[in-house]
Symmetry: C2
Subunit: 339 residues, 2 copies
Amino acid sequence: MSSWTYAKAGLDLSKHWEMHRYARQLAEEIARELGIEVRESGGYATSIRVGDLELCLHIDGVGTKTLVLEKLGKLEVAGWDCVAMNVNDVACGGFRPVALVDYVALPSDDVETFSKVMHGVAAAARESRVVILGGETAVLRDLASGVDAACAVLGTKIRKDFENRARDGDLVIGVESWGLHANGYTLVRRVLESRGIGYRSVVEGVDLGEELCKPTAIYSNLLVDAIRRGLLTSAAHITGGAFTKVRRVLGSELDAKLSMPEPPPIFKVVQELGRIPTSEMYRVFNMGVGLVLTAPPASVEELGKLIESYGFRWWVLGRVFRGSGRVLLKTFDGERIEF
Amino acid sequence: MSSWTYAKAGLDLSKHWEMHRYARQLAEEIARELGIEVRESGGYATSIRVGDLELCLHIDGVGTKTLVLEKLGKLEVAGWDCVAMNVNDVACGGFRPVALVDYVALPSDDVETFSKVMHGVAAAARESRVVILGGETAVLRDLASGVDAACAVLGTKIRKDFENRARDGDLVIGVESWGLHANGYTLVRRVLESRGIGYRSVVEGVDLGEELCKPTAIYSNLLVDAIRRGLLTSAAHITGGAFTKVRRVLGSELDAKLSMPEPPPIFKVVQELGRIPTSEMYRVFNMGVGLVLTAPPASVEELGKLIESYGFRWWVLGRVFRGSGRVLLKTFDGERIEF
């Protein structure tokens, strides 16, 4: 049996970055023409000044996790996740999420399916204390064969001095995820299909049905609190691209050395079933760590208590050094990877 | 041959409103719990106060027009339209569009297709003077069989006294559309397919290929200008639901009497091919009038000149009277419809 990668599953991350670069170039041209200053905050939130406020706007979706959720009768998780993905990104950029609009695309005008998704959107909006300012329900006959859920979130700057940049000497903290979250599902689906394994199977004691339906953890309340208290220098939400995202908060003159904890069993099951190289696993999945923070050593005790008060486990993963923008990661099984 | 309606084409607008009501109810509950006042402006823009600013957030997509655009090699129009649909709505609500984020879902990581869509997004952002603060490219293998394009737009209140409410005695002004815009494509597709007519056919002198690819007119610059000058009492963007949307700006104590102009030939061709009842046409399509404005009679001369200076034709469609929230519409062929 051959080994699986994200590219083989049909998703070439280099193409993704090419699209991203093109879109960004167009956006920069327009901002220049309009004479409007657009700021980036660690790649997570792009913002403008409006009146006295620094405002960011962010959009993200759930991807093909919805296909799995639909089969397992858990579409409310799609609604939850599309909010969670956004509020986490916005808060990593140093913004408090304040309002959202949702976008749900469906193959037919199925009120029950829609209500299920919206139920999840509402639950996550409550949890992250964000008002819903509207939404669009797109009935896409002949275009969508399943449910697509996305949100856009508006955020306001939490404090001026948070730049989302790690500093030399910072400790690197990992905060636990609730499982796969909403990334890598195209790869997971391909691996399971290629092995003829159903979504409700139990493999090596891991209940796939349960794992594949777990919602994405909402870190935004924790992040807003920690940033307000001045405990963090940077925050990276581990989503598509996984630990390559830590590069964004390093800039070109720092390295981060991380030693990763043992991932929850679901990650090992997916890896073994797909014979996925370990380095690919850390490029695609959160491997049990959904959020990577950097903080001065003096803040870590208070930060750790704060993380626990929000109900999350955490680890000191490593440290930030002078370097050249590299993430030097030791995997749970001792392999050394450089991003 | 039987006659076509939107419901028969698979889109039941009453179900759409049911979904809309459910979503709105959830949104209202959350706003109440969070103690945040959410304001509606004629159903087009929902807003909150942040600091000293009144901000709205709006989201909309292009629907299945993208399927037609893809076949005709014109996906840049999908990008343009997703911006146009949003900035028009936001400006109808009395907000100046300032920033957007785009959401493009594709069945594969096709950089060329994506770039084409983004090209249109950028052109429309330039035209409407809106910065792009980011976007999401979702590769939805097995979920999307075509391109889905949506945008979310942030707007700031233009002036406090614009409530998007018609007043007794106002004249009703219609501003020309550029054709079908981005609504009713599911019905158009079904009608053409049922008759075996290709998207590039010429029917009764109407070049379908050309008509089906026409972009949505951007009215936001005109609207911001007209609202700033205090010329309008209300504005209704004629999209999904078409002229039923005029009800939103009437409230429960006014009626609007409208006499509609002759629609461009494409609307008549679609109607004849599908044997679509005239009343259904005015429920689904803009029928050549993409924007309905109300203004005091004393403003109409200045307003008319302003509309023309933005390159649009216009008509006085009728008047606003004391009543009960009804739109009393006389169709181009003399039928009387009540919404």
